[in-house]
C-alpha cells in the first residue's frame, strides 16, 4: 500500500472510531459513569503496545531504550491499574438484585 493510501485508510478508521465511541457511550446510564470513565481509562492503556514497539527497537540507541522502558512502565501501570480499579467498582454493582431500568 502506498504511503498516502495507508494514511487515508488510517484517517478513515479514526473517523469511524469517533462515531462508534459516541454511539456506544450514549447508551451508558449515569449510574455507571464513574466505572465508564475508569473503564475507558483502562482502554487507552493500549498505549503500552506502542511503548513495547519502541522498547523493542531499543537496540538503536540508549535514548530510545530508556524512553521506551519508561513508556512501558507507565503504560503497564495504566493498563493494570485501570482494569483493576474498574473491576473493583463494578464488583459492587454485580451482587445486586436486577437493577431498575435506567430512566433517561
Amino acid at each position: 500500500m502506498s504511503h498516502n493510501m495507508l494514511l487515508v485508510f488510517e484517517v478513515t478508521i479514526l473517523v469511524l472510531a469517533i462515531f462508534l465511541g459516541f454511539e456506544v457511550i450514549s447508551k451508558v446510564p449515569t449510574l455507571l459513569h464513574t466505572p465508564l470513565m475508569s473503564g475507558t481509562n483502562a482502554i487507552h492503556g493500549i498505549v503500552v503496545a506502542g511503548a513495547m514497539i519502541v522498547l523493542a527497537s531499543g537496540h538503536k540507541g540508549p535514548f530510545i531504550w530508556i524512553i521506551g522502558f519508561l513508556a512501558v512502565v507507565l503504560g503497564s501501570a495504566n493498563v493494570v491499574g485501570g482494569f483493576v480499579v474498574t473491576d473493583r467498582m463494578l464488583e459492587m454493582f454485580k451482587k445486586r438484585e436486577p437493577p431498575k431500568p435506567s430512566d433517561e
Binding site: H3, L6, E10, I13, L14, A17, I18, G21, F22, V24, I25, S26, K27, P29, T30, L31, L32, H33, T34, P35, G39, T40, N41, I43, H44, I46, V47, A49, G50, L55, A56, S57, H59, F63, I64, I67, G68, F69, L70, A71, V72, L74, S76, A77, N78, V80, G81, G82, F83, V84, V85, D87, R88, M89, L90, M92, F93, R96, P99, E104
Partner: protein, 463 residues
C-alpha cells in the same frame, strides 16, 4: 509475525474493547464487559510482543512487572472514596507514555538520511503535546483531589491570556515540527511546554470541577494514543485511543450539561472563586444558623413519613455509606419511606455517589436521579443532606451573582424540614456560601458524617 497477520489479530482487542463499552450499558453485565476488555488487552500485548520481536525482551518483562505491579498495588489498596484521584493518576501515566513514544519515535527516525513524512511528524508533535498536557494536568488533578495542594482555584492576573499565549506558542512549534523543522530539541520544547500548560491549565480550576477535568484529560489521553497510532502505523492504537477520545468528550459534555455550564466556562471561568459581589450578597442575608443535637434529629426522622437522603462528597470522605444504609433500614423498619436523591455531579466524579451507595448495597429502586427526586421534595418531611453542599445550594436558582447560578440543583428547601450534616461552617470544596444553611427550615448537625449518623442510629433505636 508478519504485519498483516498482526493487524488481523489486532481485530480481537478492538472488538473486545467495543464489547466492553457496550456491556457497560447495564450494571448486571458491566463487570463481564470489563473482563472482556482486559482479555482483549492481553491479546493485544501478546500480538505486539510477537510482532515486535526479540530485542531486549528481558527489559520488556522488567518494565511490565514494575509498571503492572505499581498499577495493581495502587488499584488494590485505594479506598473507594479515593477512586477519582486514582483514575486521574492512571490517566496521567497513559498520557505520559504517549508523549514518551513521540520523543522516542522522532529520535529513531531523525538520524540522516531519515526524514519523517509530514503526517508522521505532525502526529509526533501532536501526541507529544497532548500527551504531556494530559500527564501534567492529571498529576495536578490528582494532587488537588488528594489535597496535597489546596482545592481552591489558584488565580493570578492575566492567567487566561498567559495560558492562551503559551498554548498558541506551542501550537506554532508543533506546526514548525510538522512543516519540516525536524529537530529533537523542538519536540522537547513542545513536550516540556505542554507539561507546563497542563499544570497552569488545571491549577485555576476549583476542586468541585475536577470530575469534568479528569473526564476531559481522559479524552486527551485517548486522543494522544490515537495519534500515536499514526506514528507507529498501528490500527489498534488508533481505534482504541479514539474510542476513548470520543467517549471522554461526550462524557465531558454531559457533565457540563448537568451543571448547566459551558465547557469554556468550566475550564476558563476559575470556578469556585467567590466573587466579591456574590460574597456580599451571601453575607447580607446571612441570618442565623440553627444547630441541633442528634437526639432532636433522631426524633424528627423517626416520626417522619418520608425521608430523603442527599449524599455528597462529605459522605465519601467520612466513609459513611454503610452507616447511612443502616440508618435508612432502621427508619424503614419503623415505617418511614426512605429514598436517596442523587445529583449527577455530587461527589468528585459523575455517578460517584452511585458507586458508594452500591458498595453499601442500597437497593437501586431507592436511588432517585435529580429529575425524579425534585418533584418529591414537596411531599418530603425531612431531607437529610449528608456532606453535600453546592448541589443543594438555592443560590443556583436565585442569586445571579453566584458562580453556580443556573446549575440545576436538588430542591431540598422544598421539604418540610432540612437536616444538614456538615463538619463545620466552612464553605465547601468550591468555597461558595450556601444560604440553605441559614434557612429557618434548616437545622445543622455538626460533626463528622459517620459519627453523626452512628449517633442517629443509636438514638433512633432508643426511641
Amino acid at each position: 509475525m508478519s504485519t498483516n497477520l498482526a493487524d488481523a489479530l489486532y481485530l480481537i482487542p478492538i472488538a473486545s474493547f467495543i464489547l466492553a463499552l457496550r456491556y457497560l450499558a447495564n450494571p448486571a453485565h458491566a463487570r463481564r464487559g470489563n473482563q472482556i476488555g482486559a482479555a482483549g488487552m492481553l491479546v493485544a500485548i501478546v500480538v505486539t510482543w510477537i510482532k515486535a520481536g526479540g530485542g531486549s525482551w528481558w527489559a520488556l518483562v522488567i518494565a511490565m512487572l514494575i509498571g503492572g505491579g505499581l498499577g495493581a498495588a495502587g488499584a488494590r489498596k485505594v479506598r473507594m472514596t479515593a477512586m477519582p484521584q486514582m483514575v486521574a493518576l492512571f490517566n496521567g501515566v497513559g498520557g505520559g507514555a504517549a508523549a514518551l513514544i513521540a520523543l522516542a519515535e522522532l529520535h529513531r527516525i531523525l538520524p540522516p538520511p531519515g526524514r519523517p513524512t509530514w503526517d508522521v511528524s505532525t502526529a509526533i508533535a501532536l501526541s507529544g503535546l497532548i500527551g504531556a498536557i494530559s500527564f501534567a494536568g492529571s498529576l495536578i488533578a490528582f494532587a488537588k483531589l488528594q489535597e496535597l495542594i489546596g482545592g481552591r482555584p489558584i488565580t493570578y492576573p492575566g492567567q487566561n491570556v498567559g495560558n492562551i499565549v503559551l498554548l498558541l506558542a506551542l501550537v506554532v512549534f508543533a506546526v514548525l515540527l510538522s512543516a519540516g523543522v525536524q529537530a529533537q530539541w523542538l519536540l522537547w520544547v513542545v513536550v516540556v511546554g505542554g507539561g507546563l500548560f497542563g499544570v497552569l491549565f488545571v491549577l485555576p480550576i476549583g476542586g468541585a470541577d475536577m470530575p469534568v477535568v479528569i473526564s476531559l484529560l481522559n479524552a486527551f489521553t485517548g486522543l494522544a494514543v490515537a495519534i500515536g497510532g499514526f506514528e507507529l502505523q498501528n490500527n489498534v492504537l488508533i481505534v482504541s485511543g479514539m474510542l476513548v477520545g470520543a467517549s471522554g468528550t461526550l462524557l465531558t459534555m454531559l457533565m457540563g450539561k448537568a451543571m448547566n455550564r459551558s465547557i469554556g466556562n468550566l475550564l476558563f471561568g476559575a470556578f469556585g472563586q467567590v466573587t466579591a459581589e456574590a460574597a456580599a450578597v451571601a453575607a447580607g442575608d446571612g441570618g442565623t444558623v440553627r444547630s441541633a443535637n442528634a437526639e432532636d434529629v433522631a426524633v424528627m426522622l423517626a416520626y417522619a413519613h418520608k425521608v430523603v437522603f442527599v449524599p455528597g462528597y462529605g459522605l465519601a470522605v467520612a466513609q459513611a455509606q454503610h452507616d447511612v444504609r443502616q440508618l435508612a433500614d432502621l427508619l424503614e423498619s419503623k415505617g418511614v419511606e426512605v429514598s436517596y436523591a442523587i445529583h449527577p455531579v455530587a461527589g468528585r466524579m459523575p455517578g460517584h455517589m452511585n458507586v458508594l451507595l452500591a458498595e453499601a448495597n442500597v437497593p437501586y429502586p431507592q436511588l432517585k436521579e435529580m429529575d425524579e427526586a425534585n418533584p418529591e421534595f414537596s411531599r418530603t418531611d425531612v431531607a437529610v443532606v449528608v456532606g453535600a453542599n453546592d448541589v443543594v445550594n438555592p443560590d443556583a436558582r436565585n442569586n445571579q451573582g453566584s458562580p453556580i447560578y443556573g446549575m440545576p440543583i436538588l430542591n431540598v428547601d422544598n421539604a418540610q424540614a432540612v437536616v444538614v450534616l456538615k463538619r463545620s461552617m466552612n464553605p465547601g470544596f468550591a468555597g461558595i456560601e450556601n444560604p440553605l444553611f441559614y434557612n429557618p427550615k434548616t437545622v445543622m448537625l455538626f460533626g463528622d458524617a459517620k459519627e453523626s449518623i452512628t449517633k442517629l442510629v443509636a438514638d433512633v433505636k432508643n426511641l
